[in-house]
Amino acid sequence: MQEAILALLAKEPAHGYELRRRLEAALGPAGGALNPGHVYVTLSRLERSGLVREDGRPGLGAHRSRDRHVYELTPAGRERVETWLNDVTWAKVAPVEFHLKLVAAAATGLADPAALVDAQRLELLRRLRDLQELGRAEEEGSTGSLLIEGAALRLQADVRWLEACERHWIEEESR
């Protein structure tokens, strides 16, 4: 989030409200999860870290609210954006917790692994349904809908993995 806001400022200095508007546009339907204070809190943190500064231009209205401040990148901020864009870090993908849950269920006999898989699959399918409904409200081919598609494809992969879990634990049981 910090880096995304820095990157938006790399194009040109901007007001907080302008940054928020651009961020919402990029996130599409997911932009609704952004709370109004998010951008301003992030900006003050970035300012404290020396990555952005107010560009010194006077505010537009009579009252200088936080909305009216124009922010720009510092050289350190610009360097951070470049590092971020080229960084290949990715979210950790192994579903360790659920895997260990199944192992624990089988070892202790406290729950049936296949039943846990069924319940989990149902939960993921419900999320997938909600997500697709959200995506349908978006304009076809919009940038925001691409994020929804990414989320849906990941959930779909998780459901396929649950099928592999189901096969494994049913075979284990019958051994």
Binding site: H38, L131, E149
Partner: protein, 247 residues
């Protein structure tokens, strides 16, 4: 609500090399009018065979199938052929369009076979192609269409005789991610228009458009549950993005 399909204690066994395989094992199922139901399960769990039994493409060894208020499991091939044409729209993974016919000819064919006058069949077919946003491809042969367009034409064909129920067997199985989203959007529109739909799939995205989900394993239905939870949009959004560092 009344039941469009009702199956009781359906059994279907196939001969295999070693021992006979029970593909459908004492399945009960009710599909209410206007409802969308998905049947999900790993390949070989019997979900396609179940669809074939309900749609009269195969005969059960035992059990009962009712379509509307009529018992249909004992019908002859000829009777089934007429009933399928009139009351069931099929959508398959491989589209199953007639290669030598244009898109619109494929759509109007089931209407013509039912005796609908040529002009009306053509108008209905064109209306459907328009509704499914593929009318500009009406004059093309299937091999000139993309996968997503072919499946749109196949859905139009399934709807042309205003069937009691549309049965789809892995309708997104041959489509890429984009076309899958497109076709699923279409099924969601049919669902919202209260077209009765039975969807057999192992694709989670496809299964999740349903109102109700049936899970099959080894020929038996092992779970039935509703998927439409009416989750408020704020909760969906909150579960979607982790904006992390500024929370």
């Amino acid at each position: 609500m009344s039941a469009v399909i009702e199956a009781r204690d359906l059994v279907k066994t196939f001969d295999a090399d070693e021992a006979p395989v029970r593909a459908v094992d004492h399945v009960d199922l009710v599909l209410e009018e206007g409802e969308t139901v998905s049947v999900m399960g790993p390949s070989g769990c019997g979900k396609s065979t179940l669809l074939h039994l309900l749609g009269g493409l195969e005969r059960p060894d035992a059990g009962e199938v009712r379509l509307g208020d009529r018992r249909v499991d004992g019908l002859s091939e000829t009777e089934w052929a007429v009933l399928r044409r009139r009351s069931i729209g099929f959508v398959f993974q491989a589209f199953n369009l007639v290669d030598e016919l244009t898109a619109i000819e494929n759509v109007e064919l089931p209407a013509l076979l039912l005796g609908v006058p040529r002009g009306r069949a053509r108008r209905n077919a064109l209306d459907l192609l328009e509704r499914l946003r593929v009318a500009e491809r009406a004059g093309h042969l299937p091999d000139r269409l993309s996968g997503g367009e072919r499946q749109r034409v196949a859905v139009a064909r399934a709807l042309v005789n205003e069937p009691l129920v549309v049965m789809a067997d892995e309708p997104t199985g041959n489509l890429d991610s984009r076309a899958t989203g497109d076709i699923l959007g279409l099924f969601a529109e049919l669902r919202d228009a209260r077209q009765t739909l039975l969807l057999v799939t192992h694709d989670a995205r496809a299964a999740s458009i349903a109102d109700r989900l049936l899970t099959m394993r080894d020929g038996a239905v092992v779970g039935q549950t509703r998927l439409d939870t009416g989750t408020p949009i704020e909760r969906v959004l909150a579960g979607l993005v982790d904006l992390g560092d500024t929370a």
